[in-house]
Symmetry: C2
Subunit: 308 residues, 2 copies
């Protein structure tokens, strides 16, 4: 069955100029001439944690496995090059499931001109696991890193936050093109994608940059899904708390020098809004302020894998 | 805990000239200047299929996760460059387990000068899953592929086969240096590593090359472990059958023009033996012959993931 699936996949993979040798051998061979630097990222998704196989179309799961990695390339302002994927499939229905996963993967790969270079298809008695490794090309302006923010930089974000569990956790668009455009046109000091939650990811960026940050909470773009989720759950968590802590927004979180930030906000060069939500500070720690009120600590809420 | 583990790992990773930016950001940045081609491979290992966590030192599991991928690089005659790893850890004892896995990974990475570029550390309620993606550099003589064997080529293998379940499935040495040396000194038409079983992997090589093969069964180097296993199991499977079908030998299986093969066998340039076990043929199919007797079909036995 493994060979049958590989044959199915090889028929469906379009030729790609990067692939000197595609799936089917012990490894794929990629043409890398002229690339001084490349970025590499890996993400692994598991049933019950990143998706519920029983409730979600496997095409959306396959798409998500690729999209979260594309978001990591966006976070580095890198152009997508190639992907390899590995799956651990439940034995029952594994072939159909593998096909459906790839029916979600292939269109997204094509959209971003990403070569599917290979994969590893396994079966076992456990739940579905899917992992992807992506290579990206750093542009002439270099990679966008978490380190590099300067005190005084503005905290700029794309899009809106919170409530992604209502569907955006699967159907989000990785901000690849947005990151490339911003990196090309503006001076960006640092950046990342928001996967675990706006507050916790901001805490990571400031730690890597050796800074702190003050977030103007009334400036945070709250997604309509965050309001909807707060109404649905009615558990006392406000839409703002959802926006700060839900995660899986897969928006960009940037550090931009103030003058560049003003220009960027005036020009609004993207299809999604760019918003200034606060200030990076020399003093470490994460702080919040509401509508010019007193500065208070901001506890980084968000998702972290716990294992003890 | 995830952040704590990443901090532990970052402290232990030696600097590597390939790594412009190592683990800790959204992606790693690799220096690739001057590399025209690279190979990429991914393998995913699961508890109960590729190892039994309850019975095996996790260091050997971590080592194996890297070694099977190094063997894929060897199969392409590529020099190891960089790796990214992802794990899905059981929640209980996950941190200790992650540390032990990496205590098996790091020495092998160092031995092959492989940069650990990053990883993804997850926890869940399922069994242990570990996956690695490796990048390798193709040498000036190009990659070694499954396609390219010619009728009349000799079937040359390194080492001996069968019974790897007695321990070599974990402790095998990936034939990285052997493959690089052979590719450098001899003309090799095609090659792969034997992971699923000598017969089934040979059937894949001949299919990709559009050929067939006749195996001289009395020439196959049978590992002492195959004999030991046949004695232990006493189930009628002969040592030869173990050698042909057990898999996880991680030896090289090559197609070598006859003159080169003779030279290679006379010189025996490796620490492990090189053996001629038969002939690639224009006629497709897999055949065997014992001590000059009649030619009979060889059913490709070996491991294949089954999912329906």
């Amino acid at each position: 069955m493994e060979q049958q699936f590989i044959a199915w996949l090889r028929e469906r993979l379009p030729a790609h100029p990067l692939l000197r040798l595609g799936p089917g051998d012990d490894a794929a061979v990629l043409r890398m001439a002229g690339m001084d630097e490349c970025v590499i990222t890996i993400d692994l998704l598991t049933d019950q944690v990143d998706f519920l196989l029983a409730e979600v179309d496997p095409r959306r799961i396959g798409r998500k496995a690729l999209a979260v990695n594309l978001s990591d390339l966006a976070a580095m302002a890198a152009r997508p090059l190639a992907a390899v994927l590995a799956v651990a499939l439940p034995r029952q229905g594994g072939l159909e499931l593998a096909v459906q996963l790839y029916e979600g993967i292939l269109p997204l790969a094509e959209k971003y001109n990403l070569a599917i270079a290979g994969g590893d298809t396994n079966s076992w008695d456990g739940p579905l696991v899917i992992t992807a490794t992506l290579l990206g090309q750093v542009t002439a302006r270099g990679p966008l890193c978490r380190k590099g923010a300067t005190a005084g930089d503005r905290i700029i974000v794309t899009g809106a936050f919170g409530g992604s569990i209502l569907g955006r956790q699967f159907d989000f668009e990785p901000r690849v093109n947005e990151a490339l455009l911003l990196k090309d046109r503006y001076e960006l000091h640092a950046g990342m994608d928001v996967s675990d939650g706006l507050a916790i990811d901001l805490s990571r960026l400031v730690r890597e940059s050796g800074l702190g940050a003050i977030v103007e909470t009334d400036c945070i773009p709250i997604h309509e899904d965050a309001r909807k989720l707060a109404r649905q759950r009615n558990d006392g968590r406000t839409p703002l708390e959802h926006a700060l802590g839900d995660g899986e927004d897969f928006e960009l979180l940037l550090a931009v020098p103030p003058k560049e930030a003003r220009r960027m906000l005036a020009e609004q060069p993207l299809d999604v809004p760019l918003t200034d939500i606060g200030l990076y500070t020399a003093e470490s720690g994460l702080w919040q302020r509401e509508a010019g009120g007193p500065i208070q600590p901001l506890t980084p809420s968000g998702w972290e894998h716990s294992f003890t």
